[in-house]
């Protein structure tokens, strides 16, 4: 079907800038002429908890949440969270993950270990897997906080949207003083 809906999930830890990234994505889809719906949970879960944001675009979108097992692209800001939400994806989906770890409380307290070899485990289930050194590349771009934009650039390559549209979306959503670094970070991600 030509008017199929594309389902994108952005996952990570509260406070990592997932909401802004999903807003930039949605903005780009709208500018490109699609219907867009987006959904995430605010409030308590934002305080260092596990966060998932749903972005869906196509000709006409109904549900604001991605039906279970129908995710096309998972966009992970943290490794453990990327792994946690793999079950939302359909087989053969694309996974783009930041190579970055944030220990959950049980790990901080020394009661559990952070799971090992997550990139290998993800790749075994989803061969279309890209691991990005988001923090490292963002530092090269000029600010470690631009890791999200590096990731966005990497994901953008997998979506049929013109460069100019991405540029327009970033200009609208990113604060002026951070724009230059973010445009650079985006371009670096897009080259991966």
């Amino acid at each position: 079907m030509d008017n199929a809906i594309t389902n994108i999930l952005l996952v990570g830890v509260g406070g990592q800038g997932i909401l802004l990234a999903s807003e930039i994505l949605s903005e780009a889809f709208m500018l490109a002429g699609f219907d867009v719906k987006k959904s995430e949970i605010h409030g308590m879960s934002q305080r260092g908890g596990s966060v998932v944001s749903h972005v869906r675009f196509g000709k006409e979108v109904f549900s604001p949440v991605v039906p279970e097992g129908e995710g096309d692209i998972l966009f992970g800001f943290e490794l453990l969270e990327t792994y946690r939400y793999l079950s939302l994806l359909k087989p053969g989906a694309t996974v783009v993950a930041n190579d970055y770890k944030i220990a959950p409380p049980s790990v901080l307290l020394g009661q559990a270990g952070y799971p090992q070899a997550l990139p290998e485990k993800i790749k075994a289930k989803f061969p279309d897997f890209l691991l990005v050194d988001g923090q490292g590349l963002a530092l090269q771009a000029g600010d470690v906080r631009a890791a999200n934009t590096v990731m966005l650039g990497a994901v953008s390559k997998r979506l049929q949207i013109a460069d100019a549209v991405w540029q327009q979306a970033l200009e609208k959503m990113v604060p002026k003083r951070a724009l230059e670094i973010n445009l650079k970070a985006f371009a670096m991600g897009r080259e991966l």
Binding site: M44, E68, L80, P105
Partner: protein, 591 residues
């Protein structure tokens, strides 16, 4: 012009376009952002109220003056506002009056998942329910119009997925031909003494009948006819899930969920072989359809608890053999450690909970970030019911206990919650001489919902400087003789205060005075010197881990069991609480 708006942004836009002049709310997830967006429209006088009852009364007052007025709250807030709501239903309005209630099915951020539709029926006021941001804007505009046309407050029901979901909205102009507000005396309509109210009640009942007839032909209730086999009645976000899950089904999409358009429902039921009602939470529509003598299925298929989703709806129809299962292979993953929310690094509540736990206190808690104090490793909260209840519950429980147990009862409450309904409870406690201890965790902001100002913070919703409630003085005025202020970053002082007040056989209040570390701006939160663990001195005793600061990580030693503590310099705010716990002086300032 098209924009992507959240449901809350769209409701704010709808109020603006409708010519609303006054808006009031108490923050509560998922409703909070409505007022935070309304404040951007300079034409509307928008403000936070100390609680939802007051917010609704502010809006009622404005409406009586002839202005279009808005009040917003979350579902549990409607419980607080129920008193004025039920009588405003009798008075009706002058200017359009809209009450937005945002429900939270699945309890993403709430203490229960009540269904606000019951309030519309109970209070006998119409309720509209939008299904996306576009409808949020359109229905808000319509709600103001219907309010004036039918002389009634109108409720607009949202839910978490609508309020925080985003979709494309076409913006419109603000209406400009509304009559200017003015004072008009109209006691028979606005003074609800028994004699007057008796005259109004029949009008309220007639109004419901008229609204039902309006709903039979209004565009907000519409049939979408597809197959003649399956027909589904649905509303709000559930409509979107149904379209997604059952694309073949015919749908009666209701934009007004109370009163129901009875003739339209009858007509729809004749067009399909099998009729279903799919709705989140209560069988609100289903029961009414059945009461009309129309056969339908509903809660037999879906749960009374939690959110629906396209998947849950599809599964229910597959299980009931109404549709066939699609072949699919699920991806499974191994279990990984959970990641629950946590109090922030440097949170001023942490030391208080640590000491309450050590003092073996029985803590009656309240609603706010600090409710997270019940989680390990602090484990220092024993009850949590609703806003303001910590103090009254503490006051109640001591009456039932022997003296040595009475001492253990400590109520904790935040500044915003104290001003919301805790004042009444403290007044009761002082008056009836309940020998409990109250800790007011004053972090200078309403933190849980995203740092909204409150009457003690010194700023308005617009960010203007204003008066500040003096909480210690207020407690004294309410009749508490023993009021003291402590620095919650000073663990010894905090322990001493807690022990002394717990031992006092009289009502007493301890107020903490450090701001939330998420509030920015001069004179508010300031970071201290970032700390680090001297790895040479650290003995691995784990004492510092007991406060559960997310900035402190335990790293096991690769060649043995013993490990050491590390502080993440990106996260540490320099509160020094962990430093005070380390007996080995291993924690100090970074060089």
């Amino acid at each position: 012009m098209k924009e992507i708006l959240s449901g809350n942004e769209a409701i704010a836009r709808g109020a603006y376009e409708a010519g609303c002049l006054v808006a009031s709310a108490y923050p509560g997830t998922p409703s909070t952002e409505i007022l935070e967006n309304v404040i951007n429209y300079k034409e509307i006088n928008a403000s936070w109220a100390p609680n939802e009852k007051v917010a609704l009364e502010v809006a009622i007052g404005a409406s009586f003056g002839g202005a279009r007025a808005l009040a917003c709250m979350k579902h549990v807030g409607v419980n607080v506002a129920a008193d004025p709501l039920f009588t405003a239903s009798y008075t009706g309005v002058k200017g359009g009056l809209v009450l937005v209630a945002a429900d939270d099915p699945e309890m993403h951020s709430s203490q229960n998942e009540q269904d606000s539709r019951n309030y519309a029926k109970f209070a006998k006021v119409p309720m509209l329910e939008p299904a996306d941001s576009r409808e949020c804007k359109e229905f808000t505009r319509l709600a103001f119009e219907l309010s004036e046309q039918f002389d009634t407050p109108v409720m607009l029901r949202s839910c978490t997925r609508i309020s925080h979901g985003k979709s494309v909205v076409e913006l419109g102009e603000r209406v400009s031909d509304l009559p200017a507000p003015k004072l008009v005396k109209d006691a028979p309509k606005l003074v609800m003494l028994p004699g007057n109210a008796k005259v109004r009640h029949p009008l309220v009942e007639e109004r419901t009948v008229k609204l039902s007839e309006y709903g039979d032909t209004a565009a907000i209730n519409r049939m979408e006819l597809h197959s003649g086999e399956i027909g589904v009645i649905c509303a709000g976000v559930t409509y979107q899930y149904v379209r997604e899950a059952l694309p073949e089904a015919s749908v009666l999409k209701l934009g007004m969920v109370w009163p129901l358009p009875k003739n339209l429902i009858r007509e729809f039921s004749t067009k399909v072989k099998q009729l279903f009602v799919i709705e989140e939470l209560d069988p609100f529509i289903e029961e009414q359809v059945k009461a009309m003598g129309i056969a339908c299925q509903g809660k037999g298929l879906t749960s009374l608890c939690g959110e629906l989703s396209p998947g849950r709806i599809r599964d229910a129809f597959v299980k009931a053999s109404i549709i066939e299962a699609a072949a699919s292979e699920a991806v499974t993953v191994e279990p990984v450690p959970p990641r629950p929310p946590n109090m922030c690094p440097g949170c001023p509540h942490r030391g208080v909970f640590y000491q309450l736990n050590r003092a073996n206190a029985y803590v009656t808690g309240d609603i706010g970030c600090y409710t997270l104090g019940f989680m390990p490793p602090l484990n220092a909260m024993d009850t949590c019911v609703c806003m303001g209840a910590s103090i009254s519950m503490g006051s109640g429980i001591v009456r039932a206990l022997p003296p040595e147990e009475q001492k253990r009862v400590v109520a904790v409450i935040g500044d915003s919650t104290f001003l919301h309904t805790g004042i009444n409870s403290l007044m009761e406690m002082a008056w009836n001489k309940a020998p409990a201890t109250v800790v007011i965790l004053d972090n200078r902001i309403t933190a849980m919902t995203g740092r909204q100002e409150n009457p003690a913070s010194g700023f308005t919703l617009a960010g203007d400087e204003t008066s500040e409630v003096n909480i210690p003085e207020l407690c004294r005025v309410l009749g508490i003789k023993h009021v003291r202020v402590v620095d919650p970053y000073d663990l010894d002082a905090t322990r001493l205060a807690i022990e002394e007040e717990m031992n006092r056989p009289e009502p007493s209040v301890i107020i903490t005075n450090r701001p939330c570390c998420l509030i920015k701006g001069a004179g508010r939160f300031e970071k201290g010197k970032i700390l680090e663990v001297d790895q040479g001195k650290c003995t691995g005793c784990k004492a510092c881990l007991r406060i559960g600061c997310p900035a402190i990580e335990w790293k096991p030693n690769p060649d043995g069991n013993k490990g050491k503590a590390f502080i993440d310099p990106q996260l540490c705010t320099g509160c020094t609480v962990c430093q005070q716990l380390c007996k080995f002086n291993a924690i100090g300032g970074r060089k």
